[in-house]
Symmetry: C2
Subunit: 307 residues, 2 copies
Amino acid sequence: MDKLIEKIVRLQNPTALGLDTCIEYIPQQLKEKFGEECSTLESAANAIYKYNCLLIDALADIIPCVKVQVAYYEMYGSHGMESFHKTIVYAQAKGMYAIADIKRNDIGATAAAYANAYLGSTMLKDETLKVFNCDSVTINGYLGTDGIKPFTDLCKSLNKSAFILVKTSNPSSGELQDQTLSDGRKVFELMGDMVAQWGSEQIGSFGYSNIGAVVGATYPEQGEQLRNRLKSVFFLIPGYGAQGAGGKDLVGSFDKDGLGGIVNASRSILCAYKKYSLPAAESARAEAIAMKEDIVNSLKQAKKWDF
Amino acid sequence: MDKLIEKIVRLQNPTALGLDTCIEYIPQQLKEKFGEECSTLESAANAIYKYNCLLIDALADIIPCVKVQVAYYEMYGSHGMESFHKTIVYAQAKGMYAIADIKRNDIGATAAAYANAYLGSTMLKDETLKVFNCDSVTINGYLGTDGIKPFTDLCKSLNKSAFILVKTSNPSSGELQDQTLSDGRKVFELMGDMVAQWGSEQIGSFGYSNIGAVVGATYPEQGEQLRNRLKSVFFLIPGYGAQGAGGKDLVGSFDKDGLGGIVNASRSILCAYKKYSLPAAESARAEAIAMKEDIVNSLKQAKKWDF
């Protein structure tokens, strides 16, 4: 996690650009400029990649990280996966940390296949080849340790990271996650405790493990509670912007130094041109700066800003 | 779920061919025959598709269903996803029901993207296009109803099905799933009850809903308990063969008529040539017949065979 935190500190900005890009989000005049009619899966996937590049170019000097939501690429089949991969490569080339938001989960042997695909490498005839080669992934811990271990092992050996779903940002997340167990813990607290355990041997120089947690900004009380409970677990925090959370909802998820989490926003940046009377790149930049200021000011007001 | 059950009844065989195909499973002489050296991701993905076709040709008249584990295709990048798609198309063309084992999960808008990719269709400029167009998917319910609804809605409108993880087959599945809640239920029972609820408006002519559950064969007691608890929920049952479960472990997961579940085997069929001194296709057929007989005989001995 050190690599991500170093980028956050350097840019003084604990936010991630969420590339949940679908073709309806791309302004018509840009589709024309890209030469992509979006009438085939391949053309749509190309338009998405080109829009991602435009946003990355506009934001790489102020935002440390992209979170690429793979669902929006699988929608366009194998062409979409090609655009997903090219987006990861492009973001990394521009110095951004690349989180693949895949929420994968399976039994051990299959989890290893996913871990190899997104973090590690695939064995071919005479060599191993990196496939998507992301810096980080999101995963789902419903299957327990043996579905997680292939990811945590690769995080350790390759110095990468993973974020495990603990308390998700969606309205119905409590149906399972907020259930109380017989020992008094909530399900999300048990999951949080397992995440801390899974990452306990990979604590970096900022005091945070390579194995982080997804904790939705839309549940600020649980965020604060989990921050106090899981001292060494870094949070990936979705739900800002279009999902409804603002800077003040995030403060509890950060530690006393203003570290401990990275906040993702997707639609509010992807579609910022609808709010500002500016082209997409400038609009995205204006929205990204407003988001950074909102979060940083909220942290400063809470006396949680020391970098 | 009717479509799947009709195929099971017609072939008198409640089993699925698990296509968790990786290149190490393909005999060297077949790779040569296919003209695929497997030294690039594209060649490896092609070899996997050709091996899948060989197995489908050998088994489509005796096995009603394929379960294609997408992790083993993502390992080969966008080429792998192309082979995944072609495998689905080929199996369906041979009359097999095609389950995409994807275990996807996310917040509502993103779950809709996954549901469109694997069950529905993607909006392009002037039309919608089916992408992977599978008959069924597996999904993970950790996020609750709004992450599930895009899938259940498409199952209803398109007459497709989904299987939600309830009690998985892996050794550590109990770490979360077997936890006891304050109301006395186990987590997997709560999840099972939610699955029954999610599918309660889609009960077909055999009494089973389009919304099924994944229940591992490696936990026979829980399988029997869930069968008694979830009368209208059809089970996808992994864990047979290489994972250790045999016919007798499955009986409790079936209803009194021998319906209620479909048993998947992957490695034991994909690698059957290592056990039989026969070519891959004949070996797979011999193993598939042995598996069918083991399961059917176990059901008959338990007086659970009425079709």
